[in-house]
């Protein structure tokens, strides 16, 4: 059932020109722009890679999940799916899965582009993997929650802005050595810290970074349960 729902969702995503552009072309173009125009010398690659991953998670996963779920709810497709045999968890997993796969694939492609453009390989690939999984999870959970607060697919462009920017800013600040610990309160900062450490940066904040990421996943999931709606009528 998850596979059938996922295939349908992927078709819907790719057949909608706006959604497909935002989810696929935009982050790829931005990521390539970062890789080829920014200065990668002296640790600059950490910033570039962080930006690339934040755009993949932010646009491809977070904004797309929010927009897709809101559009499907508006179409009453979510309500229809609940009249079928799939449980709520299966329905959500089916819809989220292709988006997550797309986001992760994109992140890997962009990393490959950076390496091709001269970035070093990560010293701690395990930490990079952790950042990828954590980033996908935060973005998914936050997307489900935000869609609950978003009335129409058009409004998603506005409602996704605060979390998106908080994540990008959090990610960027935390790649600059060891900043004030309060930075870890921002959603993307745990990820930025992990990415920096993966490329040989300071490692003393890894524990806190994982804690921050886990806390954001937990908070977004809890808020999703509270705010997510299946039916526009409420």
């Amino acid at each position: 059932m998850i596979a059938a729902l996922g295939v349908a969702e992927l078709k819907l995503l790719l057949r909608n020109r706006t959604a497909a552009t935002l989810a696929v072309l935009m982050p790829l173009a931005a990521g390539m722009f970062f890789a080829f125009t920014m200065n990668g010398e002296e640790g600059g690659w950490t910033v570039i890679v962080t930006l690339q991953l934040m755009f993949s998670f932010g646009f491809t996963v977070y904004v797309t999940v929010t927009t897709a779920l809101t559009a499907r709810r508006q179409d009453l497709y979510l309500k229809r799916l609940r009249t079928g045999a799939a449980s709520d968890v299966v329905v959500l997993t089916g819809i989220l899965l292709p988006v997550v796969v797309l986001g992760l694939a994109q992140a890997l492609v962009l990393l490959g582009i950076s390496v091709a453009a001269g970035a070093p390989m990560p010293a701690r690939p395990d930490l990079l993997a952790l950042a990828l999984v954590g980033g996908a999870a935060i973005s998914c959970a936050a997307g489900v929650c935000t869609s609950g607060l978003t009335g129409t697919a058009e409004l998603a462009q506005i409602t996704t802005a605060p979390f998106f920017f908080a994540m990008v800013v959090g990610g960027l600040i935390s790649t600059d050595g060891v900043p004030d610990v309060r930075v870890l309160l921002l959603p993307g900062s745990g990820l930025g810290t992990l990415i920096q450490a993966a490329w040989g940066g300071p490692t003393e904040r890894i524990g806190l970074a994982m804690l921050s990421t886990a806390a954001w996943i937990a908070a977004a999931t809890a808020l999703s349960v509270r705010f997510f709606r299946w039916d526009p009528r409420g």
Binding site: A4, L5, N16, D75, L76, K79, R80, G84, S87, R233
Partner: protein, 307 residues
């Protein structure tokens, strides 16, 4: 009417709320195996809310609902493969094709997909067209095709023919009659009273969240007075009429209306009198009550209960 059939759906004391607004305020009815039960009422009467509770899409605020002996809200999964649901709004993603939707639904409904449902509803030639390009009637037929996929035991149809042209409506009725012939139990809501009159075995008319009228179609219709109407020749007054069982009203238009429980007797008396007097009554009509009459009196608050 004595029947040995067992109830497939049981609703007792059902109440539903949207926040502070109570949309359904204490509803009881049963739907028997293999029958078509029509749930009628004006917009906002609580039909769809009641349907959604039966379908397991919303929890009752109070009361109990059982579908094939199971609580549809708590045990949704147990019922899904055995029930077909056609919501008031189809809920189609615009960018899938009809064929893709049938395949997807074959998996997610828990019932097997066969593309011949598209043929049965005259959609085979449109199978590779995106849903957003289908006409309203085609979408509604696709919706019905999905609801009847894999022959569910119980079928919920929420306004299945709203917005359909007469031909599509006929086709829908054929499919519904075919399913009844196969023993499917059907709950239907509709705004078309002639649709309910031609399909339903039993019905309930809801008004402002309660059931105003319920019972077997024949009993509900029999409980309403029949109507005789005619034009009286100009010089006569209603006082000249013979004794009738029913109530006589003389309309300002000059038309006389008799509302009677004894249609045959009153009509015989009236025609006999006219013949003896050598009168010609203009444009005589005699009708049994239609569902429209029952519906109207339910809305105006006159309680009619047929056992």
């Amino acid at each position: 009417m004595v029947t040995m059939r067992k109830p497939v759906i049981e609703v007792a004391g059902l109440r539903c709320r949207y926040g502070d607004f109570e949309a359904v305020r204490g509803v009881d009815f049963e739907v028997l195996e293999g029958e078509l039960f029509a749930l009628l009422g004006t917009n906002g009467a609580g039909k769809t809310t009641t349907m959604e509770t039966l379908e397991g899409l919303r929890a009752p605020f109070a009361g109990t609902v059982r579908v094939m002996g199971v609580d549809p809200w708590r045990e949704r999964a147990a019922l899904r493969a055995r029930t077909g649901i056609m919501l008031q709004d189809s809920g189609f993603p615009a960018d899938l094709t009809a064929r893709e939707m049938v395949r997807l639904w074959g998996v997610t409904s828990g019932r097997r997909a066969t593309e011949d449902v598209l043929e049965r509803l005259d959609l085979a030639h449109r199978r590779d067209v995106r849903i957003k390009q289908l006409s309203g009637g085609e979408r509604r037929r696709l919706d019905l095709a999905l609801a009847v996929l894999g022959r569910p035991e119980v079928l919920f149809l929420d306004e299945p023919t709203t917005g359909l042209d007469p031909e599509s409506r006929q086709r829908t009725w054929e499919v519904v009659r075919g399913l009844l012939g196969d023993g499917t139990t059907i709950v239907l809501t509709t705004h078309y009273l002639e649709e309910a009159e031609s399909l339903a075995h039993r019905l309930a008319i809801m008004h402002e969240g309660v059931v105003a009228v319920s019972g077997a179609l024949v009993d509900v219709l029999a409980a309403q007075p029949a109507r005789i109407s005619f034009d009286l020749p100009g010089r006569l007054d209603v006082t000249a009429l013979p004794m009738l069982a029913g109530d006589v009203v003389h309309r300002p238009s000059g038309r006389v209306e008799v509302r009677t429980a004894e249609l045959q007797d009153d009509l015989a008396v009236l025609l006999g009198w006219a013949r003896r007097e050598g009168l010609r009554l203009g444009r005589i009509r005699a009708n049994h009550a239609s569902l429209e009459d029952v519906f109207h009196s339910a809305r105006t608050g006159k309680e009619v209960v047929a056992a």
